[in-house]
Symmetry: C2
Subunit: 408 residues, 2 copies
Amino acid sequence: MLIVQKYGGSSVANAERVFNVARRIMAAQQAGNDVVVVLSAQGKTTDGLIAKAKEINPHPSRREMDMLLATGEQQSVALMAMAINYLGGRAVSLNGTQVGIETTQNFSNARIRTIHTERIMLELERKNVVLVTGFQGVTASYDVTTLGRGGSDTSAVALAAALNADICEIYTDVDGVYTADPRVVKDARKLDEISYDEMLELASLGAKVLHCRSVELAKKYNVKLVVKNSMSDDKGTEVKEECKMERMLVSGVATDKNVSRLSIMGIKDEPGKAFEIFQLMAQEKVSVDIILQSTGANGRQNISFTIGQDDLDVALKALENNKERLTAEEIRHDESVAKLSIVGAGMATNPGIAAMFFEAMYDAGVNIQMISTSEIKITVLIDEKDIDAAMQSVHDKFKLASVRMRMD
Amino acid sequence: MLIVQKYGGSSVANAERVFNVARRIMAAQQAGNDVVVVLSAQGKTTDGLIAKAKEINPHPSRREMDMLLATGEQQSVALMAMAINYLGGRAVSLNGTQVGIETTQNFSNARIRTIHTERIMLELERKNVVLVTGFQGVTASYDVTTLGRGGSDTSAVALAAALNADICEIYTDVDGVYTADPRVVKDARKLDEISYDEMLELASLGAKVLHCRSVELAKKYNVKLVVKNSMSDDKGTEVKEECKMERMLVSGVATDKNVSRLSIMGIKDEPGKAFEIFQLMAQEKVSVDIILQSTGANGRQNISFTIGQDDLDVALKALENNKERLTAEEIRHDESVAKLSIVGAGMATNPGIAAMFFEAMYDAGVNIQMISTSEIKITVLIDEKDIDAAMQSVHDKFKLASVRMRMD
């Protein structure tokens, strides 16, 4: 078998953990497999580098930021190769340029175009474990790029697709995908399997275990994906096309506190104002999530929407600078909000789910600010302080701890 | 003018110093020059990375060590680009792969084969300051290499040669090349100029200001080299083919404490034993410096030689393992020794110099263990504790503080 494994930053945070991972990698190879491993930067390395950059320039160029951040993963793979060598194994580290992970020029958030597999195949033939830097690639003109949030997951799945790997194992610090955050909901249950679509919604709704870009990619190329714990032998959660066992009503609850709410109050009721606002956000590369439009006093409009907390400064500045053009009376923002979502493939065809969900929120005494729904999810925006109680209440209501509710 | 500047690790150790250097670079560009800058890793970064590697593997593979260490310089150039951007300037960082500094495969101690200049020239045309990682290169198969000790000086001079630069400025934390270590000899005098050959001897004898490989390269390609202080406006020391002003008897005193003495005692007086010893050292890549052979009791031979302190463990192990074959009775070592050298182009033709030198040692009450001479230098091995007194005494004897002694 050809296995691609990915280990996150906390799994390789210090020498002891590096050796723990090295032993897992070698076990996979000694079982007769070809093994390609994608690593993130160690522990808080990336945060440290960002802090160093910000000390020098609060708005560093994205190209230079990528040059800087890419060093974190390069250190990880070199150290891991040394650990595997120390344990008597054969390994070689490769960075994005050496592999040839060709990306777009969009620094800090590049998309993978092609992955050249020649060097990796050569090293596998030499019986080496191949250690590849996650999160990074290279442009056609050899500039270093990074892939944005969750980039190492994306690297791993893209490599698995390019190499036509039998399996892509994503190692993290929990046993797999849970029905809710196990640190908050004590009786949260680990799922043995979940569909790509459900995982996609969970990931995009804030479940930290897998990044949605990697799930999209896995779905597109039909990569067999397993989420596992780097510190235990649990068999993890398998992410696949269709779940055989049962079709779930609700498979999990996800929360996201990295949310801010922006409200533009008192806009003149003229055509195109909403368009202007969201065009402005697009120009600033700010992703907008839930949107709510309402009519206020004097027939003036209020438009509220949610964005990631990291984008708040940029978004606020752009809105304030264009306040007159937007005919806005006031721009408000609220950082003390959070999103809570339920996800399940069976939801679309069962109208009772929404009612149960809102009943759970009522039980917990939680006030709902905004609502957004899709085929397989319902998301609400609520006060951040209510988030844990709301998650537990929803988890209880749908009996996620015990057994899945069947749809038919 | 096309200027190549090189700044060492201490010159860019923190954000404040990075900005100090950024301002110097921009001043050079604003004066109408094209500027290419070679940077070392910040402060103690390289030491930190080495410690991390050794924690995992006391004998890491050289290839992986190079992958790890190369990240230090990449961080430096990215941060410097951010600083120059912040001050309103234009800059781009390039690593060894991006420039195309092609080297041999000899990891940890690679030699430069070719430097591709296209990308640098392109960036200069775009009015960018070009910031290049020192100390590193890349093999034809894109493996990252490093150039060994003093590698960043070598990078700078090689780039200056490849780009046909008008001048190569090496910035350090002292005003230039001194007649002796100014931290020890208080009246040490800064030299305005020095010849390549003299600088070569001084560098190889332990004067830390320039690495001898870079001086060799500068001599070979006739690169105009200036050693300057990154924190002052002193015009520094110019290293050039022939010094116009005066031909010096003695231009400086250098010391090196990074020395160990090995003595192989009681070798049978058979042909080829010395050859076997030095072949053994060559196999272990240990450079041997001063050699002394003497006859001991019973007609048996003693061979003593000096090596770098870093090589002591390797050398001792190799000798102990081959003690019988070498017919040695005992292997001794002494780490408490140091080398002291005087260098001067006029020395070869003036036999009085040696006498004055030994008189100075006698004045200081210093016992000489070993002697080695060349056309333009005399080196002695002495007890490490005597080194400062010996340096001062020699400095006084040749009146290096006041005015150079003329030869004719």
